[in-house]
């Protein structure tokens, strides 16, 4: 990075650190923070969509659909979600390979499950064994995102279902009295009004999602935790930047990062609550009306 970095052992503390913290490995560490944000950016809308689907399904008049929606939201309660993370990532991986196996090589002579092995034909390997490294990484990340979306979708479904029931019933009856169909009532009256009721719950889920991102490490992704452990481990003098075990300080850095993320989210959520309360038939909405009048 800097010119004086050629021989770090001769540098004073400040310059040593300015070289150390800008070397190549640290660039990868800083990039891995983008992984956290990417996960948040993709998971949040996808799980919201899953949750919306689940909540809408739970309200369906066809019983099997309603059961399906309720089963999905009830599924994740009562069981630690780390179990789901570890479970789904394997299941998804095997399901994809199994499906591709059935499509690509229908006349494969051997069993897929042989004792402790899960063997599919070479064409069904996902991603294929000669694919470049980045394909493997992207595939792993996509699986992880999907797993997160399934789990957090169930939580969102729970909150949205409650929010839909919190919309004053008179509003829906009025809409029906105007001759709106069920779908119209849902899309034009229920959905626009439910968000303010859903926001506290969704806000909580968002904070929980932030705090769940380090679990990516357990799913085998090279995320911030991976790099913190990697870089923090002690280096002997054969390395360019020898140092003792600094993992504690790296984790302290991560802790501060997550605290900041939480604080910023809290502030943003408070603003959003204020914004969504505008014109709503709630106490907060009433307060806003009075303030402007």
């Amino acid at each position: 990075m800097f010119e004086f970095c050629t021989d770090p052992s001769t540098l004073d503390t400040f310059r040593w650190f300015s070289c150390y913290l800008t070397n190549g490995a640290h660039a990868l560490f800083y990039q891995s923070f983008l992984v956290v944000f990417a996960l948040l950016a993709v998971t949040a809308p996808v799980s919201l969509a899953f949750g919306f689907g689940a909540a809408a399904a739970s309200r369906a008049r066809m019983l099997p659909v309603a059961w399906l929606g309720k089963l999905y939201t009830a599924m994740v309660r009562g069981v630690p979600d780390i179990v789901f993370f570890l479970f789904f990532i394997l299941v998804l991986d095997q399901a994809i390979e199994y499906l591709r196996h059935q499509i690509n090589c229908p006349d494969w002579p051997e069993e897929i499950r042989q004792g402790a092995n899960f063997l599919v034909c070479p064409e069904a390997r996902t991603p294929s064994s000669n694919a470049p490294q980045w394909v493997h990484e992207v595939y792993g990340f996509a699986l992880a995102v999907f797993t997160y979306a399934i789990v957090f979708g169930a939580f969102c479904g729970n909150v949205l279902y409650g929010a839909m029931r919190a919309v004053p019933h008179a509003q829906l009856e009025t809409a029906e009295a105007y001759g709106m169909s069920r779908a119209q009532v849902f899309w034009r009256v229920l959905v626009p009004q439910m968000w303010i009721y859903a926001l506290p719950g969704l806000g909580n889920i968002w904070l929980i999602l932030i705090k769940a991102t380090p679990l990516l490490f357990l799913l085998g992704i090279e995320d911030v935790v991976y790099w913190a452990r990697e870089l923090g481990g002690s280096r002997n003098s054969s390395y360019q930047y020898p140092h003792p075990d600094w993992r504690f300080w790296y984790f302290l850095g991560l802790l501060v990062f997550y605290l900041c993320l939480t604080r910023v989210s809290e502030i943003a959520l408070a603003w959003l609550t204020q914004r969504l309360s505008r014109g709503q038939a709630t106490a907060a909405g009433e307060a806003l009306r009075k303030a402007t009048a």
Partner: protein, 279 residues
Amino acid sequence: MICAQALEAYGLRALGIGERLLPQADITLCQQVVLIGSGMIWNVYFGILALGFGFVFAVALAVAKASPTRALRKPAEWFIFIFRGSPLFIQFFMAYEAFVMLPRIGFEFTLLGVDIAAETRWFARAWLGALIVLFLNTSAYTAEIFYGALRAVPKGDLEAADAFGLSGWKKFRRITFPTTMRLAWPAYTNEAIFLFHATALVFFSSFPAFQQRGDALYYANYFADRTFNPFVPYPIVAIYFVILTLGIIWGFAVINRRLNRHLPNAERQRLRIRPQVIR
């Protein structure tokens, strides 16, 4: 018959009693159920102890946070913010690294000799180190719940207490605290469930499973890696946790009934269980 053998060999494996080697090949369903069940001992151990100690500390924290004295309020607020605002996973990692560094930082207990030298090493072991982290973490979450309840104590109750000449410790002991518990109990039940779920993280975060003595998820993961079949061990863990959750709900409902026993039936708060997620 084979099940009885599995029970004998692995029933207390998580405590280091029984067969030394974990099942290697030809893993039976019995072995999975028994070994994962023996791992649940750790989950229950962490959960109960952390909850028990955490309860006491949380009451103190909540009172400190509600205190008008700045010197008491600020530390409590910061403690709660730090432990609630950061992932438990990271807290585990950090605590482990800190505990590993402990003896090296230069604590010299030469006065008492070997005894103490051994004790500092225990911090890096899951049974003590992870317990401390879980204790601090649940204290922070519980304190926030109790703080909310403390502020929701009806004004009339406190005025009535003043009118009766109660003050200080007596007022807190007889009026404020019981009402706080009543108000906080449903949320506290969720926190308890939540904490038991969090215990599944212990052996996945830095704390090594000494001699493969791990918790339920540790063994489930072991089986999933061995058999490459997630459809058996993970549902077993899930079932164990559902049973544990139902047990917690039942236990807390009993206490809830006792807390509200003076109220007429209709006014009693029903426990609404909304288990939360990861922390």
